[in-house]
């Protein structure tokens, strides 16, 4: 017996990897983890392959019981993580022994957290991905009583760590104009860059409704548009004039006009904004958006090389005592003892 038994889960918890590109022509959007950077951190920490899946935990707390010995790591939104009441650090691998109780507290800063196991979490691969997509009825959304199993095949010790990233609580989210921006009047387009936006509680993996200090937007739909392609990040204005940013599990097509599109490099920063957080939108050109994306991708790629051994992890400390202090200093006469 191995893996983790689920004792408690927040609503909306799901298995996620980088999603499934290539099926949009059949009506399936890419989906995947809301915070791809946090997913990459877990993969770097455990030396997991890049297709490994993690458990995505929105907002609320979770609890698990270890059914065997394992290594695990938590990344993403700031949370209190304990194993049998002993504090564990985020972005640091830790050991679980059979019977241990792992608690992951509610998000204190940010929204989405990720639990990683060696080799990734086992679940069915559908359309080349393990990502759960509720509307598409694809993938696995585990429930209390279910068991999370590690695929294994990698060997990471406890106490491997990554430095905390600084992308939480952004004040500015960058966006680009899109195919339907010109349907909005000049004052709406101006207000987009001037208004203060607030994240409302109406949010999930599909989208995030915003309230705006500029009030409502209104597209000029003199011509009725036929539904058109949606991409993640599109800021849609519905008939009620309210802006919604469409996110990873958005539909592939939609009939409401889109005033702008959040750039790919800022999607995870936006997704991690807590409800009630305020931010501004800043319009950028495609060149700047692509430079930001290239930088983000380089950062994600560099994570594996930035993993370091933290000496504060008790199990790592035992190793230190065994190999350096005990043999090297206290004993000091290995050759004699042989």
């Amino acid at each position: 017996m191995s893996g983790l038994e689920i004792i408690r889960l927040p609503p909306g918890a799901s298995i996620q990897d980088y999603g499934r590109p290539g099926f949009r022509r059949y009506g399936v959007t890419e989906g995947g983890a809301m915070d791809r950077f946090a997913l990459a951190e877990g993969q770097a920490l455990l030396a997991n392959p890049s297709h490994a899946a993690a458990l995505e935990l929105p907002l609320g707390s979770a609890e698990f019981r270890a059914l065997g010995d394992s290594i695990a790591a938590c990344t993403g939104a700031e949370r209190l993580v304990t194993v049998n009441s002993e504090n564990k650090k985020l972005r640091q691998t830790f050991r679980l022994e059979s019977g241990d109780v792992l608690k992951i507290g509610a998000a204190e800063h940010g929204v989405y957290g990720y639990l990683h196991l060696p080799g990734g979490i086992e679940s069915p691969v559908l359309l080349n991905s393990r990502s759960a997509h509720e509307q598409a009825e694809l993938g696995w959304k585990p429930c209390v009583g279910d068991r999370l199993s590690a695929i294994g095949g990698v060997d990471a010790p406890a106490g491997l760590a990554l430095a905390a990233p600084d992308y939480f609580s952004p004040r500015v989210i960058r966006c680009m104009r899109g195919p339907q921006s010109e349907l909005f009047c000049a004052s709406d387009l101006h207000a987009l860059g001037e208004a203060e936006f607030e994240v409302t509680p109406a949010r999930n993996r599909v989208g995030m409704r915003l309230s705006s200090s500029a009030g409502k937007f209104s597209a000029d739909l003199g011509v009725t548009l036929t539904s058109d392609a949606i991409v993640a990040g599109d800021i849609q204005v519905a008939a009620d004039g309210i802006a919604t940013v469409l996110l990873m599990d958005c539909q592939p097509v939609g009939g409401y006009p889109r005033i702008a599109t959040v750039i790919t490099a800022d999607l995870h920063r936006l997704a991690q904004l807590p409800t009630g957080a305020k931010f501004r939108l800043s319009e950028v050109g495609r060149t700047e958006a692509l430079a930001a994306l290239a930088e983000l991708r380089a950062e994600m790629k560099a994570l594996r090389g930035r993993v370091f051994q933290s000496v504060r992890e008790p199990s790592a400390l035992r190793d230190l005592l065994t190999y350096s202090l005990v043999s090297g200093v206290v004993k000091g006469d290995e050759q004699d003892a042989d």
Binding site: G22, R25, G27, L126, G178, T226, D228, P252, V253, T261
Partner: protein, 241 residues
């Protein structure tokens, strides 16, 4: 506005629009251009997806810069009149069995009345029309098919009814919609097919693709109960190696 036109759709896709609204010629241009893209093997394209009026091209900015891709598309757009390209009808026809009316086609009588036909006439007209899959979207595997005779120019309902089941045969606006998963909808349900069009565990999980031709065939409830969909999916495996 002048069509076709190319605009960025975020930083990792471009949108090639052929019109502001759906029309037969716009949709034909969309499918012809999408098909040309699929055959081109242009470097850096992650996927292309036709809609009722446009083609979305997703690219990997690490492999291609969008300006080169736009230039290439512009050259392609200039090279032929895409609104007049005749799609080669080499795709063989999918004959999709339909149990019309009954519990899963509750809107049959009302739709026939709106069309000024009897239910039997509506079924006959629907099942003798050869349709083309314009695109898939809205939900996984949900196909938009056209064009039905003008009797089917009935409007959608103003409000969504209870969700319809996967395989429902929905009509409005001279189109048929065939959802592959249960969906809430304002389209009118006139029947259901026992043929699943989305099997997530298959190597090719979607039976229908844009450009496919379809004819619906009326069947009896007894035939629906014992229907074997295996040969359809086997044919898909054979045709898409």
């Amino acid at each position: 506005m002048h069509y076709p036109r190319i605009t960025p759709a975020g930083d990792s896709a471009i949108l090639v629009e052929f019109g502001a609204t759906y029309s037969k010629s716009v949709s034909r241009a969309v499918r012809a251009f999408d098909s040309a893209l699929s055959d081109s093997d242009t470097e850096g394209i992650v996927e292309t997806a036709p809609t009722l009026r446009s083609v979305l091209i997703r690219y990997d900015p690490a492999v291609t810069d969008p300006e080169s891709l736009e230039n290439w598309c512009n050259a392609q757009l200039a090279a032929s009149d895409w609104f007049k390209v005749e799609c080669t009808a080499d795709a063989s026809i999918w004959r999709i069995p339909v149990l019309y009316g009954g519990d899963d086609g509750p809107d049959l009588d009302e739709t026939a009345e709106l069309a000024g036909l009897s239910a039997a006439q509506l079924i006959d007209l629907h099942s003798t029309s050869e349709l083309t899959v314009l695109c898939l979207g809205f939900a996984p595997g949900l196909a938009y098919l056209a064009e039905l005779p003008e009797e089917f120019a009935v409007p959608r309902r103003r409000t969504y009814g209870r969700p319809v089941k996967a395989g429902s045969i929905l009509v409005a606006n001279r189109q048929t919609v065939l959802p592959a998963t249960p969906i809430p909808t304002g389209w009118r349900s006139i029947g259901v097919t026992p043929l699943p069009t989305f099997l997530s565990y298959r190597r090719h999980p979607f039976l229908l693709a844009p450009g496919d031709r379809v004819k619906f065939e009326p069947i009896l409830a007894s035939e629906a109960a014992g229907f074997d969909f295996g040969p359809y999916w086997q044919r898909l495996e054979n045709e898409r190696p």
